[in-house]
């Protein structure tokens, strides 16, 4: 929880002789005379020190004027490079191409910049600043790809096609005699054992192939909540299939 009042985060000066040392020192001095509401916010800091580059970023972004503007431009360029690389990496799998891909990257970089500047006080110095900042570009790309899914959904959310199960889990149709009973038991467990919410999430993700991030948007939820619903559903279904002898009861997968 934040402390009782605003305070500056401790910034550890780079070593003597490092040109960044004077820069950071000037920044810290200027922050000390800054009005309270212009400071980096008061979230407690757990890190004992920052590398000089991270300290430079924090100092520059906490300022006003041309130095901050230059830092924002540089940060935006970095986030843009990361967002472009990430949409290019994911693009083929999510079937987004051409200008749409670049638009998505531009929006992700812009929103990531807003997120980073709005959350500066949450940076605890546990990694380099740029790694922390790039995380938001990745998150924004994920969210925007999730939104994109609903522009061309492959199946309606309320569809329920159990014929997709073999393909989803690589069950060989030629071996159906071996897995038919298991599949029937799974379907019974989905119908009888899951809560309506667990069933909805299981069907959407497993049978309909809706990406989890897209389902999050459709259900007005968040990734953690939907993952937890699916996690509980998986655990419950496996327990039923173990109890009925279809799956082996052994320790959790560790690798």
């Amino acid at each position: 929880m934040p402390g009782p009042g605003p305070r500056l985060r401790p910034v550890v000066l780079p070593a003597r002789g490092d040109p960044a040392r004077d820069q950071v020192a000037r920044t810290v001095c200027s922050m000390a005379t800054m009005p309270v509401n212009r400071m980096v916010d008061e979230t407690p800091v757990t890190a004992t020190g920052l590398d000089s580059e991270s300290a430079w970023w924090l100092g520059a972004l906490a300022e006003t004027g041309p130095r901050r503007e230059a830092a924002l431009r540089r940060l935006h360029e970095l986030l843009m490079r990361v967002a472009r690389a990430e949409v290019a990496r994911r693009g083929p799998r999510v079937r987004i191409t051409g200008p749409e891909l670049d638009d998505l990257a531009c929006q992700a970089a812009a929103d990531a910049l807003m997120a980073v500047t709005g959350k500066l006080g949450q940076f605890r110095g546990e990694s380099r600043f740029t790694t922390w900042a790039c995380k938001f570009a990745i998150f924004e790309v994920s969210a925007k790809i999730g939104r994109h899914f609903w522009r061309h959904p492959a199946v309606p959310l309320d569809a329920e096609d159990w014929d997709r199960l073999p393909d989803r889990f690589g069950l060989d149709p030629a071996q159906e005699a071996e897995w038919r009973d298991l599949a029937a038991a799974l379907r019974r467990a989905v119908d009888d054992e899951l809560t309506p919410r667990q069933r909805e999430v299981f069907v959407a993700i497993v049978l309909n192939g809706v990406p989890l991030d897209a389902l999050v948007l459709e259900l007005g939820s968040n990734r953690n909540a939907i993952y937890k619903v699916l996690f509980d559903a998986r655990r419950k279904l496996r327990s039923v299939l173990v109890a009925s002898g279809y799956l082996r009861d052994d320790s959790p997968r560790n690798s």
Binding site: R81, T131, C134, P252
Partner: protein, 73 residues
């Protein structure tokens, strides 16, 4: 290995799994450990368990790792 190994793997849950929020909160730290060749899985077994099981978080991990390794340059 039987024909339904993929289904069995999907249904297995790891009690160490920390969930999306905790994993994403520490993703930048975890990624730097991995990039540096440090034993991230040993230090954060709950995050490692989560990244193995959660497709979207696993994607975010791969993307940030690629960025840190300079593949975005």
């Amino acid at each position: 290995m039987n024909d339904w190994q993929a289904l069995d793997d999907f249904l297995r849950t790891d009690p160490r799994d920390v969930g999306c929020d905790q994993a994403m909160e520490m993703l930048h730290v975890y990624v730097e450990l991995v990039a540096a060749g440090d034993p991230a899985e040993q230090r954060y077994p709950g995050i490692a368990a989560h990244l193995r099981a959660c497709g979207p978080c696993g994607e975010d991990f791969e993307g940030l790792l690629a960025a840190v390794r300079g593949e975005a340059d």
